[in-house]
């Protein structure tokens, strides 16, 4: 292989400001093959896809399609050349208020050469041709908004295929599908593979990858960290290349804890998943790791009262704990630094001081009136504790770097004493030095509470935790003390052995 590549990317680079996102990515796609692209968040997958599909301009490197130079300036140009992308958000690919037939032929309704008048008969004929070629069994008169997510996804892909592309890129197409729905998608992809389409398939779901992949390309920190194309495919190797440890210098000394803070028994967070049981001790830092979409955030939100478990019990400080709201969780001393700070954490109209005090207004008020002097004093103390780089506590959040913004989020929740401190992906979009600061702060202040981290990157778990739990398919599948870790076993658990790939 190698010479018959339909699509080839060579030394692709891209920077946003001073930050290099892609540092020379090379990638081949072959006709009639599914190439799976794996990578943690921030590895550069979506940037790569956006360059290929003509959304971003590349910073350097070359791309070629069927031997010809390929340099699309707009998404429309990429599609015309024969590279079609189906994006993650299904509803971006279809127009919900129109029927299936119109959606399938939508791209022919606009652009030059399109007839001025809308001819329903012709549209239906063309749509039928597209649907037949794809083996699509959907009522063409149905409105998209009445279809299931899977059917919408099929329509979006069929619509993309109406262009008869040479290269089809699918960005996490199964992330909102059930496993039965996903099976239908896979059957469709098998068909496309037989028709000789080169498919780039981006996914975190190991079950998808095992089902579909002809080759696996792993990305990490903006470069390709591994290519696996000899059968049988080395899935653990691919996961290791994507997440595995780089040389890591400051080993931590794993601690044990005798006094339990939180005990979870038989907690089930999703339909059909196994029960979760675990104990978190005082002074202990525990990391739960696993791929994207295995239920880490769902578990964090269950502990924080955002969602309710299907079954099971929790005991906090020896008392039954079943929070009905985030307010109750906070009152019980359970704090959560939610993932994706701009979405779930930062109040954009508030400055640093106001962002830090947000959950604890009641504790710094008398008769409902906020004591701003206390508020400012706490903000200043926290800015010092975490080493937040700013001019003053009155700075706007938008003036801070990602790492400092994240420090403010951590400062918010460490400004009062917690019993259980949960952090969901606290190192996302955080530079290495801020990450070290936060991790050191978490370990130094760990006594008196249990600390629980949810991280996808193994390194982050190895650098901060006393104990590492592995999550897969909405439940805990492995436990490791961070002293003499059997990394191979851990990676196998992350990749989800055949035992767990029932979906």
């Amino acid at each position: 292989m190698g010479n018959d590549a339909v699509f080839r990317v060579d030394g692709l680079r891209k920077s946003f400001g001073p930050i290099e996102v892609l540092g020379g990515v090379s990638l081949d796609l072959h006709a009639g093959q599914v190439t799976v692209l794996m990578g943690a968040n921030g590895a550069g997958k979506s940037t790569l896809v956006k360059i290929i599909s003509g959304v971003y301009e590349r910073g350097g490197g070359t791309m070629s399609l069927a031997g010809q130079n390929f340099a699309p300036k707009t998404p429309a140009e990429a599609i015309r050349a024969g590279v079609v992308t189906v994006h993650q958000n299904i509803n971006d690919g279809v127009v919900a208020d129109l029927d299936v037939a119109t959606n399938l032929t939508l791209d022919r309704l606009s652009g030059s050469g399109a007839p001025t008048l809308f001819n329903p008969g012709r549209v239906r004929r063309e749509a039928k041709a597209v649907a037949d070629r794809m083996g699509l069994m959907i009522d063409l008169k149905a409105r998209i908004s009445d279809l299931s997510l899977a059917d919408r996804q099929m329509v979006a892909i069929a619509r993309a295929m109406a262009h008869r592309p040479k290269v089809l890129i699918l960005d996490e197409p199964t992330s909102s599908l059930s496993s039965a729905e996903a099976d239908r998608l896979f059957a469709l992809l098998d068909r496309l593979r037989e028709q000789g389409v080169a498919i780039l398939y981006i996914s975190h779901r190991m079950s998808d990858i095992r089902r579909l992949a002809d080759r696996i390309v792993s990305m990490r920190d903006g470069v390709v960290s591994g290519v696996f194309d000899s059968k049988p495919l080395d899935y653990e190797g691919a996961v290791n290349a994507m997440l595995g440890r780089k040389i890591h210098l400051d080993r931590i000394v794993a601690r044990n804890s005798a006094r339990p803070v939180l005990t979870i028994d038989g907690l089930r967070i999703a339909e059909g998943s196994g029960p979760i049981s675990l104990t978190l001790g005082d002074g202990e830092v525990v990391a739960i790791t696993g791929l994207v979409g295995v239920g880490k955030t769902a578990l964090a939100e269950t502990l924080f009262g955002v969602r309710k478990p299907l079954s099971g019990t929790m005991v906090l400080n020896g008392k039954a704990y079943a929070p009905g709201s985030t307010g109750e969780a906070i009152a019980a001393g359970v704090f959560l630094v939610a993932k994706d700070r701009s979405e779930n954490g930062i109040v954009g109209d508030f400055n640093i001081q106001e962002n830090i005090s947000l959950p604890f207004h009641r504790r710094m008020s008398r008769l409902g009136v906020l004591n701003r002097r206390v508020e400012r004093a706490i903000a200043r103390r926290q800015i010092g504790e975490l080493g937040i780089v700013c001019r003053s506590e009155k700075d706007e959040m938008s003036a801070l770097s990602g790492g400092n913004q994240q420090k403010v989020m951590v400062a918010r929740w460490t400004s009062q004493a917690a019993r259980l401190f949960i952090l969901d992906e606290p190192f996302q979009g955080v530079d290495i030095s801020a990450r070290r600061d936060i991790a050191a702060k978490l370990r130094a202040s760990a006594n008196g509470r249990a600390t629980l981290l949810f991280v996808t990157e193994l390194d982050e778990a190895l650098e901060t935790a006393d104990r590492i739990l592995v999550m897969s398919e909405q439940t805990i599948v492995g436990e490791h003390r961070n002293a003499d870790i059997d990394l191979e076993r851990l990676l196998a658990e992350v990749a989800g052995g055949p035992l767990h790939s029932a979906a």
Partner: protein, 339 residues
Amino acid sequence: MSSGWVRLAAAREHAIRYGFIVLLFGLIAYFAIAADGFVSPQSAVFIFQSVAITGVLALGVTATLVVGGFDLSIGSVATSAMMAAAYVMVVLEQNAVVAVVACLLIGAIVGLINGWLIVCMRVPDLLATLGMMFLLVGLQRIPTEGRSIATGMTMPDGSVANGTFGAAFLALGRHRFDFFIPNLIPVSVVVLLVLAVLIWFFLEYTRFGRMMYAVGSNERAAELAGAPVKAYKIWAYVISGVFASIGGILLAARLGRGDIASGNNLLLDAVAAALIGYAVLGAAKPNAFGTAVGAVFVGVLLQGLTMMNAPYYTQDFIKGAVLVVALVFTFALSGRGKR
């Protein structure tokens, strides 16, 4: 970065921050010179009086803007309260206290229903309050079959309504307090000032106000910080409804009857004042002080122009122009085009 660039940025910052206040004082100075008798206590009081009812409504709608919502029903809540006050006193022959309590209850109930529609039924805020506006405009006409309410009116069943507006109630619209000069400040202006200070203090200095701003800026973050987001939103609409009903009480007291045709402009004027308020002191967000300044700004402009013999029919045009300029101040210049 050259120092020239920095100075330019600083100048821009100042323009955004103080532009509207400077404009207000410039306007006052101009009218002081151009219009005879503009600078007098009576004229100042008249300006405040002319914007008192609008201002009260605007302060209420500010609360809903703070939580990221909107309330289109305030105008019709005010007129409904006015009709209700007249009905309670003239037809049911009750006293002033009963009338006031009935009005406030109407405001609170409408606010609760608005909040329930928006928070629990997930109807978008503009649509829910638009629907409520229609509903109230119609509802307030049903008890009297579309007639205005005044003492001596004939009821649908042929009887004559003999109740009267109580003296205490009328005083709300007609009594003036002494302030250096005897009989200077009308009750409505005092109500406006008191409510403005109250809502300003509430929004700026209490934890509830702070959390309302958080809800308006990032609802999800506020929820994850433990705030009962739904309750805050519903309360904002209750505040808006109650304030609007206070406006209605003042309107009824001023008119002395339940006039079916009055209060048409209340909604637009109030919303304009609140939106102009975004531009005051470069806040770029809803705030009580800005709303009050916005209301006064419109009052000054109209009073000055009237004294310079500008025809009445140009008023809406001028208000609209001021609003557009203020919105440009808020969104384009400060570069914070998000609400």
